[in-house]
């Protein structure tokens, strides 16, 4: 306790250095927290991309970078319809960046009478049916200031808004539905789809159906829940790995920064450590004081960094224009990790300075004065 009080006294005695060190740490931790939050948000969003009911499966091309880049042939539909345990199968195309005024929105291409389209609940207007029609999610409609009867343009094609729906799924409410044929025309891939959504017979267990489909349709990846969707995408893995690289880099750079600052502090205060040694503090005790000081400084920085990270995550999403489909997810574990990184930075960055302080020669230093 006394060491901590003395440490705080030392830090107060050098406010400029303390603040700068803490700020350096804060920036590193803010970066980590912001990235973790955005990665978490992206993962969560990826899971929402394919919203599946309890008796539904999503079929994607195996090894696709992410669900939106999967390509499957629609000829599979007929074969799937004849597979035991499957009640119905319908293609679903995912179009990203189709709406210039809402770049984060996803346009879904689905047969108007499929069970996917039939699940939309309209608050105004009604279901789309012909090739030049579109149904907008209410979030997107609000963003575009569009109402039923107006037109919106996708890839230079004018489509009439038939209705505004809301079904509580963020991606779908921030997106739009168009006929499958229109979506195929827009992508230039007639006869192809991004994914196929499968509805199972009530008596069929999803695991059994998955086993059957895997056996009959090699090269297809089956997703039965949002977590699987998150895991399925190579992009998700890349994002996670990118986040990890940034975390490691921030740790390295932050650690070097803390080590440098603490080393300077130790060199400046050599007479202090020499005195401590002269009055009976042993090496580990002196090293401990430096480590405590280093850790307290970085915890202080971590506190600031966590706050900046929470703010920065939203700013980052806004700057990327992804606010419509990425909502930064900051969990207690993320904050805990930020704090843990702060402690680690302090400990790692303080190790060498602590060793130097513990090995200050009192005879040499005190004699120099």
């Amino acid at each position: 306790m006394s060491t901590l009080i003395q440490t705080l006294g030392n830090l107060r005695g050098r406010p400029g250095r303390t603040i700068l060190t803490a700020l350096g740490t804060a920036l590193g931790i803010a970066t980590i927290v912001a990235l973790l939050a955005v990665v978490g948000g992206v993962k969560h969003s990826a899971g929402d991309l394919v919203n599946l009911g309890p008796s539904e499966l999503g079929l994607f091309q195996a090894d696709a970078a992410d669900p939106t880049t999967s390509i499957l042939s629609t000829t599979l539909i007929t074969r799937l319809d004849h597979t035991p345990g499957i009640a119905s199968a319908t293609p679903l195309i995912l179009l990203v960046n189709g709406l210039p005024k809402a770049p984060g929105s996803i346009v879904f291409g689905a047969e108007p009478h499929s069970f996917v389209s039939q699940g939309l609940v309209y608050s105004s207007g009604g279901q789309y049916s012909s090739g030049s029609q579109i149904a907008l999610g209410d979030t997107l409609a609000q963003q575009l200031h569009a109402t039923a009867g107006q037109t919106v343009t996708i890839d230079h094609r004018r489509l009439q808004v038939t209705g505004i729906y809301h079904n509580g799924i963020a991606f779908q409410d921030a997106g739009a539905f168009i006929p499958l044929s229109t979506a195929q025309a827009l992508t230039g891939r007639p006869g192809e789809t991004t994914s196929i959504v499968v509805k199972l017979d009530p008596a069929t267990k999803p695991a059994t159906a998955q086993h059957t489909i895997t056996k009959r349709f090699p090269g297809i990846q089956i997703i039965s829940d949002a977590q699987q969707a998150t895991r399925a995408g190579v992009s998700g893995d890349l994002i996670s790995q990118f986040g990890l690289v940034i975390v490691v880099l921030a740790l390295l750079l932050g650690g070097i920064g803390v080590a440098n600052t603490m080393l300077m502090a130790v060199i400046e205060r050599r007479s202090e450590f020499a005195l401590l040694s002269a009055v009976g503090f042993n090496g580990p005790q002196i090293a401990g004081r430096v480590l405590v000081e280093s850790i307290v400084t970085t915890i202080l920085g971590a506190g600031i960094g966590l706050l900046l990270g929470v703010i920065g995550a939203q700013l980052l999403v806004d700057a990327l224009g992804a606010q419509t489909f990425v909502n930064p997810q900051i969990t207690a574990w993320d904050l805990g990790r930020g704090l843990l990184v702060g402690v680690l930075l302090g400990a790692l960055g303080g190790l060498y300075p602590a060793w130097r302080a513990a090995h200050v020669s009192p005879a040499r230093v005190l004699a120099q004065h």
Binding site: G13, L275, S277, V279, G280, F281, N282, H369
Partner: protein, 230 residues
Amino acid sequence: MSGARVVVEHLSRAYGPAVVLDDVSFVVEPGELVALTGPSGSGKTTLLQLIGSLDRPTSGRVLVDEASVGELRHPAEFRRDTVGFVFQLHYLLPALSAQSNVELPLMAAGVSRRERAERAVDLLEKVGLGDRAGARPSELSGGERQRVAIARALAGRPRLILADEPTGALDSVASHRVWELLSDACARSGATVIVASHDATLAEHADRELHIYDGHLAKPSVLVPAETTP
């Protein structure tokens, strides 16, 4: 508590080709107050550092109560338990109050917070600074700082006090007060006190004087009582 017996045997210390101490031998009996005099650069500080285990000799040895201090595995613990240092520069930690500075040796020894505070306040009162316990070093005069440093040296109840030019940066009044405190500490606790000073006139306060010149003890075989020194 009795003072430590210090035996210095053929002690030498060289830094490369420069010999700072050359074959110095003497004995200081428990409870003695010895003045180690000599001009600047004569080797007084080096000698005190060797006795206090801050440095290791090139040859010879120092025995403090039979323990060869140059061969100690844990010299910091020896300093903590046996030695109290007073330096010419007070070396008070600027971020700490006078009381916290005095508590430092007790912190090293793991003394409880309460006992530390009691002993520090008591010592500060003894050196006439009872009302300045909360003051930072920057708020104290030079003499006051040195008195805090003496209180710090006494905090661990050492059996050997080594003072290196403790009055070097003080005026005559403050110097006199410092000598009084060291004499008093020696008399009260029975601690052995060795005080290095380039000012030979201050040796009149000591039980005896050892004069060192160019790394040699002037009269190594004769321990001259201070009162007979001219």
